[in-house]
């Protein structure tokens, strides 16, 4: 019995239950069902983790574990797809992140969404998302993974547009959905290429096929890899498809925390890590991934410098951090990428939830210029938020972000100096805008509207904050063993013990120390700069903005990317579609169909003259037919 097949089942069943009967349940029942189902999944994941750590639990065996075919999902021609799950170290870590953080966010949501009238619908979507994400993570073949991939996209759309009465929210939902579709098209093409060349979509078979039959740098692998990567850029908000993520902040804040920070947006990274064996041989694409990651990290961070909406800053920081992960993927440091994914899940979830707490306290206000000095009123929120900020900025030694980000920079340095340079500059900018946020929201002078009376959030919100704060700090302490554990899956068992997995064990080299020091210096500079600008001399930022108005405008307007897309892609597309609609749809398709319809009508009118209603006419037809048939028989 493979109990881990139950992991996606619990949230799925819960989603079904809530979808069917949620409207008639009380809020406490809805939240209980939603939270408990995810918690069960988390417990099972923990059970498997415990097993892996050497604690035997009856019924749980060693990793990796395959369910085999639960049932045949598709059997058409040569295509045979089973519903099958695979649990190895990589997917186990992902499961833990999704269910663990997911559970905390569910609990948080019960407090945050308490006044929401459509309570059951929200939790239906949230559970459905958890289910889809777990399908994505656990899928033993790419079709199951793709189901989850599309499922999380759907849930993302539904949750961004949760307040669909608001036009900006429904627009943002549509934007996310459409942009994701573009990426998914690439992903699908990749799947088809894989199927035509490997004859299967089972991940393990593909990886062993790649391992045996293809040289490093093979064109086919490059092609497949780039197609799948296009899917990843859509899902994980990388250049050029990152534009939907900042807008996704229109959804409820816990959704932003779960979907658009901790889990779904990392699925691209997960996918590349899962297919690491394939990507390692697609050398050309790796370089592309590395540069796109680095560029995304830089661009997003630079935009984040000047944003004033608390959630938008966090959104750009998410994009930026995802860029780091792709940078790591690009230098084939999949373990580092997933490690950063893992730590990032804690502190970014925490940041969003903290922001949610702030927004909750400010009665919906999101502009940081109208905040300040909230540390007095929101003690727990402040300190947890600061902890998360330290983690994301990579405060040395004690925070989880330090370990993961440092690892990425170190790998980047090994691969390419320029990549490292971009990364380190981005780290500085991250430090600056994050501390800018902290100082503007929690410290300095209060700019709060007198009519607003901030108050600390209920315990259902603060408890998850505190738990996540602990995680944000402590999650990095297991770096070495975690990476070794991850490499079991990513590199395959035979490679563990050699290569990079070993060096962390061997202690710090001088080079690593220098790199860490450089990162710290950059972070510290960012911190001090933020302190100076937003606590000491608060008028200065204004002047800087006026000093370089063009740069400020460029950054503030996010490099005008939306406008460029609008002018370059959306506009022509709309115009072209309109033209196609007018000329092709109306002119060709509609006219063809109209002609066919009119022809049928006219034909019917002609034929219906045969239907005279006169019995004798009918008898004539019958008789003629009988005579004809008899004649045929006589002649034949």
């Amino acid at each position: 019995m493979e109990y881990f097949a139950l992991i996606p089942l619990f949230p799925g069943a819960s989603a079904l239950l809530l979808a069917l009967f949620g409207q008639r349940m009380s809020r406490s029942v809805v939240s209980a069902i939603a939270c408990v189902s995810v918690f069960f999944s988390f417990l099972i994941s923990v059970g498997y983790l415990a097993l892996t750590l050497g604690i035997a639990i009856p019924g749980f065996g060693a990793l990796p574990r395959d369910t085999g075919s639960l049932f045949t999902f598709i059997d058409a021609g040569g295509l045979h797809v089973d519903m099958a799950f695979r649990l190895d170290s990589l997917s186990l870590i992902m499961c833990l992140v999704v269910t663990g953080i997911g559970f905390l966010i569910h609990v948080y949501s019960t407090g945050y969404m308490h006044h929401e009238p459509d309570f059951a619908r929200y939790f239906t979507y949230l559970n459905l998302f958890t289910f889809s994400m777990l399908m994505l993570v656990l899928g033993a073949n790419l079709v199951v993974m793709f189901i989850g991939w599309e499922g999380v996209g759907l849930c993302s759309y539904l949750l961004i547009g949760f307040w669909y009465e608001k036009k900006s929210a429904s627009d943002a939902g549509k934007k996310a959905f459409i942009v994701n579709r573009i990426g998914d098209a690439g992903f699908l093409v990749g799947l088809m290429l894989l199927y035509t060349n490997f004859g299967t979509l089972d991940i393990q078979s593909i990886l062993s096929g790649v391992n045996e039959g293809y040289p490093v740098g093979s064109h086919l692998l490059n092609l497949i890899a780039v197609c799948l990567f296009i899917g990843a850029t859509g899902k994980s908000a990388q250049i050029p498809l990152y534009i939907w993520l900042p807008d996704a902040m229109e959804g409820p804040t816990p959704v932003s925390a779960l979907i658009h920070a901790a889990t779904m947006v990392t699925s691209g990274v997960y996918m590349i890590a899962r297919l690491g064996g394939l990507y390692s041989k697609a050398t050309l694409v790796l370089v592309l991934i590395a540069w796109i990651g680095a560029l995304t990290a830089f661009v997003a961070a630079s935009i984040g410098l000047v944003q004033n909406d608390i959630k938008r800053v966090l959104a750009y920081s998410t994009v930026s951090q995802l860029g780091y992960m792709f940078l790591a993927c690009g230098v084939a440091a999949y373990d580092a990428a997933v490690f950063h994914l893992y730590t990032h899940a804690f502190f970014k979830a925490l940041l969003f939830l903290g922001a949610g707490s702030v927004i909750h306290a400010m009665s919906g206000e999101q502009d940081i210029r109208k905040m300040g000095h909230l540390s007095k009123k929101l003690g727990i929120t402040t300190w947890t938020f600061v902890a998360a900020t330290l983690a994301i900025t990579g405060f040395p030694a004690i925070t989880s972000g330090f370990w993961s980000k440092d690892l990425i920079l170190e790998r980047a340095f090994e691969a390419n100096l320029w990549l490292w340079l971009v990364g380190i500059v981005t780290a500085g900018m991250t430090s600056f805008y994050m501390f800018r946020l902290v100082f503007m929201v929690f410290f300095g002078q209060s700019r709060v509207d007198p009519s607003v009376h901030p108050h600390e959030s209920p315990s259902s919100m603060t408890v998850p904050l505190m738990l996540l704060a602990v995680g944000s700090i402590a999650a990095g302490w297991v770096a070495t063993s975690l990476r070794r554990f991850l490499n079991l899956s990513i590199l395959g068992a035979h490679e563990v013990g050699g290569g990079h997995a070993e060096d962390a064990h061997a202690g710090w080299t001088m080079e690593q120390l220098y790199l860490a020091a450089a990162a710290f210096v950059v972070m510290f500079v960012g911190l001090m700069l933020a302190y100076h600008l937003y606590v000491k001399e608060t008028a200065l930022p204004q002047r800087i903005g006026e000093r370089w108005p063009r740069l400020y405008k460029l950054l503030f307007n996010k490099y005008f990317v939306d406008e460029i897309y609008g002018a370059a892609i959306v506009g022509p597309l709309v115009k072209g579609s309109d033209r196609v609609y007018k000329h092709f749809d109306l002119g060709v398709i509609d006219r063809t169909l109209d002609t066919i319809g009119a022809g049928a009508l006219e034909g019917g009118r002609i034929v219906s003259r045969l239907q005279t209603g006169n019995i004798k006419a009918y008898a004539t037809y019958i008789l003629a037919g009988a005579a004809f048939l008899t004649a045929l028989w006589v002649i034949g």
């Binding site: 219906s608 003259r609 045969l610 239907q611 005279t612 209603g613 006169n614 019995i615 004798k616 008898a619 004539t620 008789l623």
Partner: protein, 100 residues
Amino acid sequence: MIPLSWYLVVSAVLFTIGVVGIFFRRDLITLFMCIELQLNGVNLALIAFSRYLPDISGQIIVFFVITVAAAEAAVGLAIMIALFHHKEHLDSERVNLMQG
């Protein structure tokens, strides 16, 4: 001894008379009678075959044909009565309610 074909010829002639009658006559009752005549033409062929093959099944089929004809007559005449109440005539060429 009478050969089978004699019976078949009579059968065919009766059937054909029924067919011609359908075109020749106008009122529905007579048309209906022509149909009965056609049925009987077929019945004769069936009985003749049943005798000459020999296979009793032919007679059974005729038995069923007569049964069905009785049912058909009941319903058909009921329709005609209803139609007559509605139209005051039974002229087949003036009854074209089903005209397309």
